[in-house]
Symmetry: D2
Subunit: 392 residues, 4 copies
Amino acid sequence: MTLRNGKEFLMIPGPTNVPEEVLRAMHRPAVDIYEGPLLETTNYCLKSLKTLFRTEGKTYIYAANGHGAWDSALCNTLKRGDKILVLESGRFALGWGEAASVSGLDVEILPGAWDKGVDPMRLEERLRQDSTHEIAAVLVVQVDTASGVWNDIATLRKAIDAANHPALYMVDTIASLGCMPFEMDAWGVDVALTGSQKGLMCPPGLSFVAAGPKADKAHETADLRTNYTDWTFRQGAEHYQKYCGTPPEHLLFAFHKALDLIFAEGLENVWKRHELLGEATRRAVAKWSKKGAVEFNISDPNARSNSVTVLRLANGDAAALRAFTQETCGVTVGGTIGELSGKGIRIAHMGHVNAVMLLGTLAAIELGFDKLAIPHCKGGVQAAIDYLAAMV
Amino acid sequence: MTLRNGKEFLMIPGPTNVPEEVLRAMHRPAVDIYEGPLLETTNYCLKSLKTLFRTEGKTYIYAANGHGAWDSALCNTLKRGDKILVLESGRFALGWGEAASVSGLDVEILPGAWDKGVDPMRLEERLRQDSTHEIAAVLVVQVDTASGVWNDIATLRKAIDAANHPALYMVDTIASLGCMPFEMDAWGVDVALTGSQKGLMCPPGLSFVAAGPKADKAHETADLRTNYTDWTFRQGAEHYQKYCGTPPEHLLFAFHKALDLIFAEGLENVWKRHELLGEATRRAVAKWSKKGAVEFNISDPNARSNSVTVLRLANGDAAALRAFTQETCGVTVGGTIGELSGKGIRIAHMGHVNAVMLLGTLAAIELGFDKLAIPHCKGGVQAAIDYLAAMV
Amino acid sequence: MTLRNGKEFLMIPGPTNVPEEVLRAMHRPAVDIYEGPLLETTNYCLKSLKTLFRTEGKTYIYAANGHGAWDSALCNTLKRGDKILVLESGRFALGWGEAASVSGLDVEILPGAWDKGVDPMRLEERLRQDSTHEIAAVLVVQVDTASGVWNDIATLRKAIDAANHPALYMVDTIASLGCMPFEMDAWGVDVALTGSQKGLMCPPGLSFVAAGPKADKAHETADLRTNYTDWTFRQGAEHYQKYCGTPPEHLLFAFHKALDLIFAEGLENVWKRHELLGEATRRAVAKWSKKGAVEFNISDPNARSNSVTVLRLANGDAAALRAFTQETCGVTVGGTIGELSGKGIRIAHMGHVNAVMLLGTLAAIELGFDKLAIPHCKGGVQAAIDYLAAMV
Amino acid sequence: MTLRNGKEFLMIPGPTNVPEEVLRAMHRPAVDIYEGPLLETTNYCLKSLKTLFRTEGKTYIYAANGHGAWDSALCNTLKRGDKILVLESGRFALGWGEAASVSGLDVEILPGAWDKGVDPMRLEERLRQDSTHEIAAVLVVQVDTASGVWNDIATLRKAIDAANHPALYMVDTIASLGCMPFEMDAWGVDVALTGSQKGLMCPPGLSFVAAGPKADKAHETADLRTNYTDWTFRQGAEHYQKYCGTPPEHLLFAFHKALDLIFAEGLENVWKRHELLGEATRRAVAKWSKKGAVEFNISDPNARSNSVTVLRLANGDAAALRAFTQETCGVTVGGTIGELSGKGIRIAHMGHVNAVMLLGTLAAIELGFDKLAIPHCKGGVQAAIDYLAAMV
């Protein structure tokens, strides 16, 4: 018996639920790329990215996914053979490091774990050891969707400063921008990047890069540039140069509208909404995990992100649970990937998510625990309700 | 602080949540009305209505809302001055009776109440009294969205038969077709009607009428006909006659798609889904109402509909609760109307509704009770979860 | 060999090409009908109808097609058995008269022809004969899409006045409002009506009625009212009363947007656009008809409408021509109906039509004449181009 | 006076008119990227690309525009410092060469002209001179939208063979695939690439690359790879690897639908449609240019492409003409770029274009010539009509 037929929810850590308004904004004819309203859209988007990243730096829009933005950050600032230090805390910083290897960079991993954030002390220690400043860049993700971890970007900056190290500080905010506070300039980030399909509520296919003055300086001597990623070309006066070719118009129409929605709500309010929904989720999980087979992947409560919560399910019932919530209830929750593959679920609460969507999702999960006899402590949804009642 | 930004839910008893596929089906150019694919759409819709109404009778599609269908039922079968008997059990049968008065019919109301269904015994009794068979038609609604009542159409038919009365039996299924079982032919209904915007998941603007042989016979001598409602004209061979003028194409595209969705799920499965979601709602309400200010409007558990549940809130906090769930959580629940105006809420669970939407809505309501300090017994959502876990 | 694959054009006299913006406006969830933004939409639409009809009278919106509006005009103002005078000039005034017969009105036709407009002298003469003022209403269409005629509404009013006759003057502007000038109050029209799907560029399913003071007065004693058409009910304070039931929301969203488009262009500019495109069409037809088998249906040049041009094709090749333009070129032109059925084509130039659409359509028709060896004089498109070059 | 309000046409050489069906296919929620229907879409698209390119080689889909595909072709097959030979015939092969320079390739241009195709003899001659086989790759575009030229890819291949040269043969089919015949395998092309937004009728944002065995072999030792472009990674088993990260879902939904449309029409029929519409355009231009200020940019009739026709306007009235057709008629034709900037117009007839769109566009241009008193010979549209009447 299925109770699925209704609006389908996609509570996975990207792509996320695309607002009706954003989908509607894409449903229109193409327009000229050399003149007319598209030029204004470009200006608006490039400028708004500064607002989102909280930077005075330069911003770039790529017809590409987040992996394309990874290349952009690396190829525009580094030289073949440069050493980079990748801060492990899940899957994605490692992936970025692997991408760097393809471009001929020398990748060193600062070992971490899948259940906690990057340790600032270890970063400082490693950088102090690098007395010749071989390390050209430090790469980290703010939120890793594979583990659910949140890294404290400001504190990690302080570790770099404490080591008095000149490395470029590059941050992947793909799973956090538009969800949790990010202050590129205030926190001393040199290159930040993100994608369209998570907190920014758009279809996938766009990625965004912001570069501060130190990155601009490094760009001058970078020798890994490719035409498509090259910042210099994209700073040209012609409109098509902003995109190194034909602008991805429909995705830009979508992004424009998504920006409107974010600014209408207010960026701080967006962050606060994610904070409350994230904590409500954690209250539910904390309750469920009091008994039985459910536990947080991230052991340190301070390192749990507000955009995605990763659960481990001891008895391997993740697949059954996900099938149940999808096929019987109408909500798709994320499966775990990488070293957690098959061992848990990922509940995304990022982007276009409100209280009723989140509570409905938590209820569907608790219903699944019950139906599938997965050992858990009842009352998770109730705990989430109780928390929110006290906070809203 | 609002947690509203996400998909908006419309859990009111009509119009209901329109499926993405149905909206998409309307997003297309108009087509010719004299030839081409629209003719096939007409055939499909007219035939499928027989399946929905469970009848071998004739079916009609109106560019009109449900009130237009009311007129169609009356004007096509009755004569000026005819007496009709309206079975009270909420607001809408009375409204139908008022409509009949405008056309010059003599309307008698069989008194009922807002908290229970029509009493078959009283109907039988009244009809027995009508020894001269003055009453030309009996009008009833299967579900009244104002009260939340469900009337037992089959049993009421038996009461008519027991009185051996020849009156036409007319049933408004606007709030029930596609939600709860309806068997026009098996139950001896002469005229049934419904609208597009509730269980049938379409935008409002279409209504549908089915007429059995006894109604066809009455039609021959009816003298209230108007051109637009006239069944005879609509039985003509020309395509435009089916609609008495230009077909409402885009709404027909929508209806065609909605029918596809219903048949893909299976009509019985649709009914079952509504039954489980309706009962889950009632489990929550039953729990909440164990203490304090919340109670069912319909006192008789057997007379509560599977498409909408009406709650009374003793302390008049309905407006605050509705505002909270809408503005803070993202779900609009219905306000009460008519004699219940301002005294409660209406939770619709009709049409395109799945488990996660319903549970999220119930959670938002319980959150609202808590936040607004409306006295209630906690655990309503939990009760709904427990019920569904046992049933799915 | 087909050259069809591209945007499909619908150059038939209704429904017409729906603008992208209008379709997009419908692609959204339903909303509450008792409160919120829909109420503002209703006010805007009702008020804007006054602007379109050029009246200070009352306006009504029906979930219905134009035939429903016909009933509304009749049932709200007349009494059973009243005599009405129908002014023949094509198919649609006759149809309106047939509709009146169903309601029990006594219908007299003032005979006319399919190739010219109503003769004001004959109208005056007939009304003078009616010394007892039996005729309660005079019915006429401004443009008849079956014949392509345009009737001079202002001059016909003068004929009524010249006869000093008190009959209500009712005008069907379904195929002319938003295409050609119409001045309800200035021209002394008592009831005007139209539909959504022609000059107003919306999907079919809405119709509109405007009533002046004399009609309001007649309404007080009208005895043909039905609930759904009743103006009195629709003047009620409750929002749902404006629609006698659930508002046809999505069609209203569409209509709101279409009104925005019309007002953005300017109503007079819209008329002017239709005038130029209409005359360009006539220049092409005049050229083609210099030789061979093509001729105007309307013999009087002053009686040809700016919204649709009807051609007679002497050799019966209408079907082949229409198939050719549709299947080979991508444009559907209208077939003729009624007594012209199969004998010609109808080229609509109403609503959302620009120069390139019209010229492309004329070119496709001329291409069809050539391909199918239908005798004609070449240079029709050139004549249209020459005319427009002199006028724009 | 504007006659613009109607469907807007975009007759520029990319992006092109996106079919309704394609836009509609994008208007849907995002889906999971690890499982479910998206995997089937990926398979379908990758396989269909083989059909479009007419190859048994490997195909790749990039979230990127055509410039991204340029990089993919180069970075996956070449080594830093490799010499490439760029065959000039307009703007875009030169642009590809400039892109190659950014990656550190040694770019030599085989000089050509903007008014004719690449000369096979000169290519053969140059390659014969390269006795040490320094030239690693030959780059050419099949159609250059800046000049309107069509290069004979098969004949150029023969020139390479005649020189017995081992260089990789790379062809940009961005402005020709889905418009004109292309036979990757039969013609001995090693790498072919295209974009979504021209003949393939999709929004911009996707580009496609096909690689034959010789390119695969070169890939093994290529040292310009970046992670995002890397073919090896994209051949991985995981679904996300096909896109090196999150798949651009909505654009894929669009592309899937566009492929359906192409296959429904038949690829050869699509080519034939473009051939007829291209020749009809040339017939009009040939007529106009018999007198006055209008002429073809491409002097060699055999080198004019079927996807875009470039006109020179001697008196510099290009801007006025384009403004007129757009603002008065509703069709945007392309402006010229590069060394032709401001000196002409580009009439695109690629992708989703039918006879009525093309004839309407030609009529709008002829109207503009007339209105703006740009010297020309009348009868261009008539010539197009006459040609098509003989051919369809």
